[in-house]
């Protein structure tokens, strides 16, 4: 008896995996990687291919995780691209203006700065009760404007930053890029928090029904605020890594990333209407989004078509989600009628 329980829970877990919203998208990712590898084994089985596969999506994964948390609360953060650009430039500036500044301090400063920018968004959304889309559309412009004003035509080059720092962007640990490890750790913590803690579940409760959450006594204002702070902090972290990975930062760094981040989350099954989805899904969505970009030329499709494929993917993912939801509902109704 006692030995049977773990077995049944294991099978349950496996069948549960098949039903999870994230499974379909994971399957798509595996298919893309397999197809590309069959066409050109170097896509996966070469040090460069393997590294690119993990490294390229890592920065977007960070931003998408923050975006997913905000989306779950039935809000949206359109300012992440601008926040990222600002913190990336801040990173460069700190290295230039304060020679010999410890890297840890720079990372911390960027994260805190990102969190502050997120706090501005969150405070405006939570206290002024203005829709997040409007507020973050405003700060998208405002932050980018500040960035351009601060940067001007200036730009930070790789030679302005210490080698140790740049190594963070390209370096590896046991064959796995450091950036990917950081992204994975952040992802695991966020996923665990969202799934298992009271705080994490409250985000879902708020997104499912804000009014009910308020009546139930959840501190909606504070939760919404922290969701934006988290999103800002993660965009800040992404900004540091952007600087480390690409070396060159001009005033347009991170432009347009907001739609990639939202797109990644949507592909990964995070509902734009709140309350549904996981940070895992958003992360897989981000990986798929950027992997397709590299896979298309190998599959013989010019990469000009990349955005079209991404668009079809987003639409396909939400249509599939909808079909599954409708079917699930019908099944539940049938089950109810039979009992």
């Amino acid at each position: 008896m006692t030995t049977a329980i773990p077995v049944s829970s294991l099978t349950k877990r496996i069948s549960g995996l098949g039903k999870a919203r994230e499974f379909g998208i994971l399957l798509a990712l595996v298919l893309v990687v397999t197809a590309a590898t069959l066409n050109n084994p170097k896509f996966l089985f070469s040090p460069d291919g393997w590294r690119d596969l993990l490294l390229t999506p890592s920065i977007l994964v960070l931003v998408a995780v923050g975006q997913a948390i905000v989306l779950v609360t039935r809000n949206v953060d359109l300012s992440v691209g601008s926040v990222m650009g600002l913190t990336a430039y801040l990173t460069g500036r700190l290295f230039i203006d304060i020679p010999g500044i410890p890297i840890v301090l720079v990372v911390a400063a960027a994260v805190v700065f990102g969190a502050l920018l997120g706090l501005v968004n969150g405070a405006l959304v939570a206290y002024a009760k203005v829709p997040a889309m409007v507020i973050t559309l405003g700060t998208l412009y405002a932050y980018r404007g500040i960035n351009v004003l601060w940067t001007g035509s200036d730009r930070v080059n790789a030679s302005d930053m210490p080698k140790d720092f740049l190594a963070l962007g390209t370096g590896q640990l046991a064959g796995i890029p450091i950036l990917a490890i950081v992204a994975l750790v952040v992802l695991a913590i966020a996923a665990w928090y969202m799934k298992n803690t009271r705080g994490g579940r409250e985000y879902y409760a708020i997104g499912s029904d804000p009014a009910a959450a308020e009546l139930y006594g959840l501190r909606v204002t504070r939760r919404v605020l922290t969701a934006f702070v988290l999103s800002g902090a993660l965009a800040g972290l992404a900004g540091v890594f952007y600087a480390a990975r690409y070396g060159t930062i001009n005033s347009q760094a991170g432009a347009g990333w907001e739609l990639d981040a939202v797109g990644a989350a949507v592909i990964g099954g995070v509902a734009i209407t709140g309350g549904i989805g996981s940070v895992w899904g958003a992360a897989i969505g981000a990986v798929l989004l950027l992997t397709i970009n590299r896979a298309l030329p190998i599959l013989g499709i010019p990469d000009f078509w990349q955005r079209a494929v991404v668009g079809l993917l987003i639409i396909g993912a939400i249509v599939l989600d909808r079909v599954l939801a409708v079917r699930q509902k019908r099944r539940l109704i049938e089950a109810r009628d039979q009992s």
């Binding site: 949206v76 359109l78 405006l124 002024a128 009760k129 203005v130 829709p131 889309m133 409007v134 507020i135 559309l137 405003g138 700060t139 998208l140 412009y141 405002a142 932050y143 980018r144 404007g145 500040i146 960035n147 351009v148 004003l149 804000p210 009014a211 308020e214 009546l215 204002t221 005033s251 347009g256 739609l259 939202v262 797109g263 949507v266 509902a271 734009i272 209407t273 010019p302 000009f304 078509w305 990349q306 955005r307 079209a308 494929v309 991404v310 668009g311 079809l312 987003i314 639409i315 939400i318 249509v319 909808r322």
Partner: protein
């Protein structure tokens, strides 16, 4: 005949107040006021702002935004959104260019681009109404899809060979005035949309859908059909704007008008349309687009860079909505003295 604005909840509550308060103490009036102030101050203090050429360029520059803002206003009043418009401008530009390059007459190419716009809009409408998906997610998808088709069709190439008659017409001014010719079709469209929104059952339906989908449905409004038509209109107008854009700059490129959707939405929201739907007027949106445009051209004349203009646009957008929300809170507090403002629970 009552106009559809009477369905707006704010106006319902204000009926006991005199007419001037109802007209002047609105968001739209504030934006119009701000526009007048900016125009007067700039003409008085900035050399060159009052000159006809400034007005010409101002109108030419914001024409695509103004055009697309018209259907976007209606879509956002129903509580939906269309993020794919910027990409549709690009796609229609590329379709026009590619067909002209293939040897077709420009008129046929432009017509084909319009058809592409209508089909693209219908695709959005189909996914939103028939499949029942959230428009924000759908149009993020078609934002990528349409842009991808545009870039895929032309690559990095650009088509620049358009009949001179048409490229000249796009920049031409009405004889004897500084007003560009594009203003005429624009004004016609304004009239069409104002009539559609404020003087037809369809328009009242648009407000009703935004206020409550269910209530609208039970009062006999075909919610899905209304939305479907609006998305189709949005696609068509975006395609028209794309053809204009192509002629104005004499160049069809896959990346034309990237990011235009955010500028349009900024104008619509600044103009007093609620993203939750049910509230908004076309004249407010036009005033907001003109305000953003005149601010930009005034600041450019005093050598302020476009980045500061971005900061100002963004801050204006945030401030305008925060101020409105603060005023509403203040009013509520005044109405119920001694009571806390309802535990800060508001409809969201």
């Amino acid at each position: 005949m009552t106009t559809a604005t009477t369905t707006s909840p704010r106006v319902i509550g204000d009926f006991d107040k005199p007419l001037w308060r109802r007209v002047l103490l609105t968001r739209e009036a504030a934006i119009v006021g701000l526009l007048i102030i900016v125009a007067l101050v700039s003409s008085a203090s900035i050399k060159g702002f009052g000159q006809p050429i400034t007005l010409t360029y101002l109108l030419l520059d914001i024409a695509p935004i103004l055009l697309i803002a018209l259907p976007m206003t209606l879509i956002m009043i129903t509580g939906e959104i269309d993020l794919s418009v910027g990409s549709m401008v690009g796609l229609s530009s590329v379709v026009t260019g590619a067909l002209v390059q293939a040897g077709l007459p420009f008129e046929i190419a432009a017509l084909a681009a319009l058809v592409v716009g209508i089909v693209g809009g219908a695709f959005n409408g189909f996914l939103v109404t028939v499949v029942g998906l959230p428009s924000l997610a759908v149009t993020i998808g078609t934002l990528a899809l349409f842009r991808g088709l545009a870039v895929g069709l032309l690559g990095t190439a650009a088509v620049t060979d358009f009949p001179e008659f048409w490229t000249d017409l796009a920049k031409a001014k009405i004889t004897g005035t500084p007003i560009p010719v594009i203003t005429i079709p624009f004004l016609l469209l304004v009239v069409v949309f104002v009539v559609l929104l404020h003087f037809t059952p369809f328009g009242r339906g648009v407000y009703a859908v935004g206020l409550s989908k269910d209530a609208a449905h039970f009062s006999g409004v075909d919610v899905e059909r209304t939305k479907f038509i609006l998305f189709m209109l949005s696609g068509a107008v975006a395609a028209f704007a794309g053809i204009f854009y192509t002629l104005r700059y004499g160049s069809a490129r896959g990346d034309n008008a990237t990011g235009l959707e955010l500028q349009v939405i900024a104008a619509v929201v600044l103009g007093g349309v609620s993203v939750f739907g049910g509230r908004g007027q076309i004249y407010g949106v036009i005033a907001a687009a003109l305000l953003i445009g005149s601010l930009a051209s005034a600041l450019r004349l005093v050598n302020v860079t476009s980045d500061v203009i971005n900061i100002i646009t963004g801050t204006l957008l945030v401030l305008s909505v925060v101020a409105a929300s603060f005023l509403a809170w203040l009013q509520k507090k005044r109405r119920r003295p001694g009571r806390t403002p309802a535990g800060a629970v508001t409809a969201s």
